[in-house]
């Protein structure tokens, strides 16, 4: 019973393909997987927009959407119909072909990333030998589309937003890659399926996820910072800061093309959360050994949704950074710390089993963190807080 529930989607797929001739099965398997991903994540996106608006409203002491359907839960349906029926305005000066291609290519490349994420036991579309590399390659391709959107609009705000976005994404992509490398060093594989499986065992009833090691914790924090910047989420949402750039690179998009950008952004959030879950939070494995009877896919999606909640929480809590602060933070703190974390990971790998490596690695990371903080903040003079307008 437990295994049936765990493998329910695989069984369902095999039941459907069972009606077909043998030669068709591999192709139909892939088509079914793609259709599931293409239907599931936009549905999740619709749900998330409601949760985000409700959550932000709660943080800001408002009610949030509450008119469409019970508690405003049909708001995304109304939004979808609205953006479908809205007029699609293309600026006269815009580069029509590039302007049209940008949102389409963006959504396609973002969807590709889901292909290698293991969403449960045996639940992966393509088990690639170099899955992690594939994911990062697809992530890198979205940068070009952001530039295409900003440049083709022939609007100074769009271009500024695109330049900001590209500079930010390139800077933080380095960190994202390097924090992923430390996981690869320990698990010895670039395949996300193998990385998830490597964390699926328990000491007593506690899990052996990578986040519960010194290097894993440091790596996860750096990964989370870089992921927030990669998806242009607050506090790193300068490329689309409404108050400074109107809406950044998608200022000149209306109707369903705008909805596609919105969709792309949220899908990127889902896929990067899925990657973080797979790399550091044990993928589809249960948090305690006595909870393994719960289907693996429930755990994967629960972890992804918790990450999404943290994204929303941060958006409601933190103010936006300035461009120079963002770049200094990336190149002077996050990147050096990630490099040192790589060294610590290597040390962890070669010190062998035992409690010594826990002490040594934790001490090194803590010392480096404190030292870098002291040196980095040494030149800043933070006096008592002064309020100019709010008193």
């Amino acid at each position: 019973m437990v295994t049936t529930l765990d493998q329910i989607f695989i069984i369902l797929r095999n039941w459907i393909t069972g009606f077909l001739p043998q030669a068709w099965r591999p192709a139909v398997d892939v088509v079914l997987g793609v259709v599931t991903i293409v239907c599931l994540f936009p549905g999740l996106f619709a749900l998330t927009t409601v949760f985000e608006r409700k959550g932000l409203a709660r943080i800001q002491n408002r009610l949030g959407p509450n008119r469409t359907g019970p508690f405003g839960f049909f708001q995304p349906v109304a939004d979808g119909i609205k953006s479908l029926t809205k007029e699609d305005i293309v600026p006269l000066n815009a580069d029509a072909a590039v302007h049209f291609l940008a949102p389409v290519v963006l959504v396609v490349t973002v969807f590709m990333g889901f292909a290698v994420l293991p969403m449960g036991r045996n639940m992966v579309l393509v088990d690639m030998d170099a899955g992690l590399l594939f994911f990062f390659a697809m992530g890198a391709s979205t940068e070009v589309t952001v530039f295409m959107a900003g440049w083709s609009s022939r609007n100074k705000y769009s271009l500024l937003g695109a330049m900001r976005a590209v500079a930010q994404m390139i800077s933080y992509e380095v960190v994202l890659l390097l924090s992923g490398v430390s996981v690869v060093m320990i698990s010895g594989s670039l395949s996300l399926v193998k990385i998830a499986a490597a964390q699926n065992h328990y000491t007593g009833w506690l899990p052996n996820w990578y986040i519960f090691t010194p290097w894993g914790f440091a790596g996860f924090v750096m990964f989370a910072i870089a992921a927030t910047a990669e998806t242009n989420r607050s506090p790193f949402d300068l490329p689309e800061g409404e108050s400074e750039l109107v809406a950044g690179y998608h200022t000149e998009y209306s109707g369903f093309k705008f909805a596609l950008f919105f969709l792309g952004e949220y899908l990127a959030m889902f896929s990067i959360s899925g990657l973080g879950t797979t790399l550091f939070l044990g993928g589809w494995s249960a948090p305690f050994s006595f909870l393994t009877w719960v289907p693996s896919w429930i755990w994967f999606f629960a972890k992804v949704m918790v990450s999404i909640f943290v994204f929303i929480w941060m958006r409601g809590t933190l103010p936006r950074l300035r461009q120079d602060q963002l770049m200094n933070f990336a190149w002077k703190f996050v990147l050096p710390f990630t490099l040192i974390n790589l060294m610590v990971t290597a040390l962890w790998r070669f010190m062998g089993e035992g409690w010594e490596r826990w002490v040594v690695c934790t001490l090194i990371l803590a010392a480096v963190f404190v030292l870098m903080g002291k040196v980095g903040m040494g030149r800043e003079h933070l006096g008592p807080r002064s309020y100019r307008y709010a008193e």
Binding site: V98, F134, A140, S141, V144, W151, I170, E173, L190
Partner: protein
């Protein structure tokens, strides 16, 4: 081989031709990403996953963006008024034909030079990694040193300009 090969070849060639024939430099930069993507697909078709994804990651993710930035920062994005071909196109064609002939000769000769190579060996990413930090660690380190020197050089060049303007 087969249909897929010709499709990818057509895509890559179209991208390459567009780079040469389009007037707007930003369009050219975007067309070159299409050519890069086509090359990556070739690698993937040959089962060279690492090379293919590295091609996308490095060329589309970094080189194309760098090209685009360079074009925008140096104000090269304005469309030229006159003809797009330079005066010395005949020399260019001659050099291109020479290089193509050399590569073609090398590829055709490789069959005779290495007659004992059987079917393509199955190379996993792990093998590439082992080779890079095992047998070829010295070239890797030399390249790393070279890149570090280039980065530091770039930073120094940029810093110098800033001091001069003050």
């Amino acid at each position: 081989m087969g249909v897929l090969f010709y499709l990818i070849a057509a895509l890559t060639l179209a991208g390459g031709l567009a780079v040469l024939l389009l007037k707007n430099t930003v369009h050219c930069a975007l067309a070159v990403t299409v050519a890069f993507a086509g090359l990556a697909l070739f690698f993937l078709q040959l089962d060279a996953q690492f090379a293919g994804f590295a091609q996308i990651l490095v060329y589309i993710g970094a080189v194309a963006i760098l090209v685009v930035f360079a074009i925008l920062v140096t104000r090269g994005s304005t469309t030229p008024v006159g003809q797009v071909f330079s005066e010395s196109w005949l020399v260019g064609v001659a050099i291109a034909a020479g290089v193509f002939a050399l590569f073609g000769w090398a590829v055709l000769e490789s069959g005779r030079a290495l007659p004992h190579e059987s079917a393509a060996p199955a190379v996993t990413v792990r093998d590439i990694g082992n080779a890079l930090v095992g047998r070829y660690v010295l070239p890797l380190e030399i390249v790393a040193l070279l890149l570090t020197a280039a980065t530091i050089g770039a930073v120094i060049v940029a810093m110098h300009e800033k001091e001069g303007s003050k």
